[in-house]
Structures are given as C-alpha cells and as structure tokens.
Subunit: 198 residues, 2 copies
Amino acid sequence: MASTEKVDPEQGKEAPPSPKPISGPSSATCTAEATCFKVDVALRVLLFASTVAAIVVLVTSKQTVRAPLPLSAKFNHSPAFIYFLVALSIAGLYSLVTTLGSISVILKPEHSSKFLLYYAIFDVLILGLVASATGTAGGVAYVGLKGNDHVRWQKVCSTFDKFCQHLAGSLAVSLFASVLLVLLVWLSVFSIHKKIPK
Amino acid sequence: MASTEKVDPEQGKEAPPSPKPISGPSSATCTAEATCFKVDVALRVLLFASTVAAIVVLVTSKQTVRAPLPLSAKFNHSPAFIYFLVALSIAGLYSLVTTLGSISVILKPEHSSKFLLYYAIFDVLILGLVASATGTAGGVAYVGLKGNDHVRWQKVCSTFDKFCQHLAGSLAVSLFASVLLVLLVWLSVFSIHKKIPK
C-alpha cells in the first residue's frame, strides 16, 4: 500500500531543523525511548490515581455503631493506619512530580539518561515505603478481621463492617500501587540497559 | 616531577599478554566493574548474614511465663510473624544464590550486563517482599508493645518481655536487610548506567 519512498507532505512543509546531528546507537533507540517515557507517564498517572483513591477510601472509613453505647472506628485510632496514610500521601505527591518530569523528557529528550537513573533510584525508595506501609496496615487489619486468641485480641470487623470494607479497599489499591512501582523501576532499568551498545 | 614519557620498568619486564584486544568503552569500565561486583558480593553476603540472624532471633523468641497459669508466646501464634519468617527465608535463599552468581561474574565477566539486569529486576521484588513483611510484623509487634485502647487490645510485651526483645531485634535486622536490598538495586542501576557511552 504505502511506498517507502513516498515523501511525507508534512515533513516537506514544516520539518524543524535538527538541533544537532543524531549519531551512533542513540538514533536506533530514540523512538523506542519516547514510547518508554509515554508508558512511564501512563504508569505514573495510574500510580497517582491509585494513591489518591486509596487515601480517599481510607479517610472516609469512619463508622459509628450503637452496641449498646455509641462506639466509633476511625483510621487514626491506630498508628499503623496513620503511617499508611502518610506513605500514600508521599507516594501520591512523588507520582505527581515525576509525571511532570516524564512529560518534560518527552518534550526535551536530551536528559533522558539522567532522568531514568534518578527515577530508578527514587522509585525504589518509594516502593520500599509503600510496601512496608501496606504491610503494616495489612497486618493490623488482619488482626482486626480474625482477632488473635493467644493474646485475647478480639475481632473488630464483625462490629465495624463498613470500616473494614474501606480498609480492605484501600489496602487492595495500595497493593496495586506497589505493583505499579515495581513496573516503573523495571521500565527504568530496561530503558537504561537498552542504551548499552551491543 | 614525574615525566609523562617515563617508561614503567615493571611494564617492560613482566607484562602478561592480553588474551584478547580490549576495544570500545568496555576498556574504561572493566576494572571499575570488577570492583562493583566485589561490592555486590560483600552486600549479598551481608544480606545473607542478616536474614539468617533475623530468622534465628525470631524462631528462638519463645517465652513461657506463669501468671498464674502457664502462658507461652511464640512467633507462630501470629500469621504476621509466619509471613515475616517466610519472607526472610526467601530473601536468605535468594542472597545465597545471587552471591554465587556474582562470584561467577567476577571470574567470568563476559555476561556482566545480563547479570546486572537480572539482579536489578529480582532485587526489587525481594525488596518489596522484605519491606512488606517487616511492615506487617512491625505493625503487629507495635500493637503488642503499646496495645490499642480503642479496640481493647491489651499490651503483650509487659508480660512477654523476652519475646518482644527478640521480635525487636529481628525487626531491626530485617530493616537493615531492606536497606541492603535498596543499596543492591542502586548498585546494579549505577553499574548499568555507567556502561552507556557518553
């Protein structure tokens, strides 16, 4: 159908002059790299959305029951859930800043190597933070769900069902955010590795 | 002081013949790369030692008190600590296998790029596992230490002091192992990044 020798009419009209000659292996990976950064932006936007969703579901988890006196359950009754909220907030803020960074790289690809290096470094830290916070909140939530007979910690979720449903939702989304962070580190590492000449 | 044209007497006497011609950017990073893998081996040995230490301290945490009936605390009374033990075991086994891998790269450096890529990929997964397990165990241990008045979970560490000391020790060593895993990922990423021609 399309001939390889066909001249692109757009190119003839308004092709900007290349600022410097493209040489060596960089020319081969340039298009792929732009695609990588587009995937990077998509993952970071998804990370931002999931951290915001997890935060909203967590802070709206308050539940009050009358059994027989009014009792309420709120996420800030446990330090584990406060740590969880702080970690999610840091991850959300980080994903917002790095999304803007990735968009800037798509527009100006010169510093892509440096960005990939910084992203791999900081994404690992945020992954450690989010994974540990998810574990902390999950561990305490599990005790709330099942109780522990050995130390006589009673179940909480039989009384505060809505509260526990919110917690479970928030934990699931946070686990998804951890997976996204692993994918982001992998993407950066693969992109850096691809730049090594064979 | 020293002339740039001075001939090194050592070089003239017993310079071994190069097995194959060194070409391109690899010649500049070759010595540094061997050093990187030595640091890698050191970190992995340290990771192995710390996971084994954390496991030993965790499984020897059993304590029995008479107050007034005999009561015992053991790590397998809580699923959080079982998960912690499993994660530490996986990390320990992984560190052992990858230490051998790194030693093989020091002896035969041809496949160093591939090893660095695989290490960066799998180290991130193990980091996520150890960080989340440390968080889970830490969250439950904190409830044991401080209790939670809102849901009437009583303190455990006032009764089982030795058990809680063991837990705290195991958690501290596990946190150190998480830091080692972050350093290992960073080392791999830096080593891969260094191979990109400027």
